[in-house]
């Protein structure tokens, strides 16, 4: 600012407050305004950011879900099962459920595969006669043990924790696998 002094103080104010004093006062007021504005913005911005970002950090509880009696599954077969997520809200409706593929390997040995293709997450289909998982989106194919047989998937089908308790098969709820990996369970 190179213009002439125009403030009332400079024109007719007390002699102690010359143009230099005025500049200092203006700088102070400008900084004060910015600081006050930032303070008010943060005050109301924090809860807004909290609402937006909370789902990114909130941990859902890991729960074991019963998907059926051991005898419901035949040895050597793979079937789709479904169960509720860890912390389902009532308003989630059917979207609060997750599907998985369960394979009975032996008397009490089970393997649980995610249904999400490790390429881009599309739901793979179990083709019983071909003994393969096939993805409809980009042609990914997996063997019955989840290893990649063909197509763009970078890694095998992710696996969920599964156990047998009291004659029932239980699957542990986990976050949706991202990039073909199941995030660590706590």
């Amino acid at each position: 600012m190179t213009d002439k002094p125009t403030s009332p103080t400079a024109e007719g104010g007390s002699p102690q407050h010359g143009p230099e004093g005025d500049q200092g006062r203006r700088k102070f007021l400008a900084r004060l305004s910015v600081a006050l504005g930032t303070f008010a913005g943060l005050l109301v911005g924090i809860p807004v950011l909290g609402a937006v970002l909370k789902p990114m950090v909130a941990q859902e509880p890991r729960v074991w879900r019963n998907v059926g009696a051991v005898d419901d599954f035949k040895v050597g077969t793979t079937v789709a099962v479904s169960y509720e997520n860890g912390a389902t809200k009532s308003w989630a409706g059917v979207t609060g459920k997750t599907a998985a593929y369960l394979r009975r390997d032996g008397e009490s040995a089970f393997t649980c595969f995610t249904v999400n293709c490790s390429h881009l997450g599309c739901p793979v289909r179990w083709e019983q006669t071909a003994d393969l998982f096939m993805c409809p989106c980009h042609g990914g194919v997996y063997y019955a043990n989840g290893d990649v047989a063909a197509g763009p998937p970078p890694r095998p089908l992710a696996r969920y924790p599964v156990r047998v308790r009291g004659g029932n098969v239980e699957i542990q709820t986990t976050p949706l696998p991202i990039d073909g990996r199941v995030p660590r369970s706590s």
């Binding site: 809200k89 308003w91 249904v115 999400n116 390429h119 599309c122 289909r125 763009p152």
Partner: protein
């Protein structure tokens, strides 16, 4: 009488003073029908706002009920059916127009000095438009929509370092659930339209400040040292006022576009809703709408090692 009212308002608001230079600013005489796509995009955006507001009065953005409400809109009310249809074809038109607008800008080299900032703000607006298309498609909340969220989250997961966090942001949690649709509704209805509006301000201001580019001439590259002077000499010698000499084409084209949208909406109707959303129904084949289908296809054709670079680097090339 009207003149008196007008004068009364003008004396107190100065609105005419504000608008008049915008309307009368000079544009090159050789500006042609090739220059209508930007304003057509704007008109399509306005159409989307108006029809979107209408739809928001009847749509229920809840993970458990959205599909039912959309089914009702589509099947039980002729006017709502029409409204949804116009909103769908309006979206297609907006994406088509923004694409043509960008193509014209590129081929005419209008992104060169002094309009680089227009191009850069335009690329962000292009991505926001595509984001509007994607989030809008999710609001259908049918089988394709919920699996598109999963596929979208997986793509976000490819971003280095923050990928998993971004993926969780898209899902609004660890997996699909009660908050997923609410979040897409908020993004589609509040966040992205406000961002588009906020960027449109400077984007349009720069059109007034720098003027619309003249069609390029062979053998005459843009020289930043002399360009501004030559452009102003051209305008003074051979410029015509924007309103109505050039603006009539914008109006005529936009009206034709809206007639076409309404015609398609009547004849073809809104996009078909597939099955109700159900993450446990695995017999489904999610596909994006036409404007992202090519991209979805490319991801099948490239070697997997390239995937992260295409997903993350592709948009950077456009910018």
């Amino acid at each position: 009488m009207f003149r008196q009212i007008g004068n009364w308002i003008e004396e107190r608001t100065g609105l005419g003073e504000l608008i008049s230079p915008v309307m009368s600013h000079l544009v090159p005489r050789r500006s042609s029908w090739m220059y209508v796509f930007g304003s057509a995009t704007l008109f399509a955006f306005i159409l989307q706002i108006v029809t979107g507001i209408g739809l928001s009065f009847v749509y229920v953005p809840s993970s458990s009920q959205a599909y039912e409400s959309l089914k009702f809109i589509t099947e039980n009310s002729a006017l709502d059916h029409f409204l949804r249809s116009v909103h769908y074809f309006g979206a297609s038109a907006m994406i088509l127009m923004v694409g043509l607008h960008m193509l014209r800008t590129f081929l005419f080299a209008s992104y060169k000095y002094p309009r680089e900032a227009s191009w850069m703000s335009g690329t962000v607006l292009l991505f926001l438009t595509l984001a509007m298309g994607f989030t809008g498609q999710i609001l259908r909340w049918d089988q394709t929509a919920i699996w598109s969220v999963v596929v979208g989250a997986q793509q976000a997961g490819y971003v280095p370092l923050i990928g998993p966090a971004l993926a969780r942001f898209m899902l609004a949690g660890e997996s699909l659930g009660g908050q997923t649709l609410s979040q897409f509704f908020a993004l589609h209805v509040f966040v992205f339209p406000v961002l588009i509006g906020a960027l449109l301000g400077p984007h349009l201001w720069m059109v007034i400040r720098n003027g619309i580019s003249e069609p390029p001439k062979r053998g005459k590259p843009v020289d930043p040292k002399t360009y501004n002077q030559e452009y102003h000499e051209l305008l003074e010698k051979d410029g015509v006022p924007f309103w109505p000499d050039a603006a009539w084409r914008d109006v005529a084209f936009a009206v034709a576009m809206i007639v076409a949208i309404v015609g398609l909406a009547i004849v073809l109707g809104p996009p078909h809703l597939v099955d109700a959303p159900n993450p446990t129904n695995l017999v489904t084949s999610p596909k994006p709408d036409w404007y992202l289908l090519w991209y979805f296809g490319v991801l099948a054709l490239i070697p997997h090692a390239w995937t992260p670079y295409i997903i993350i680097g592709g948009p950077g090339v456009v910018f």
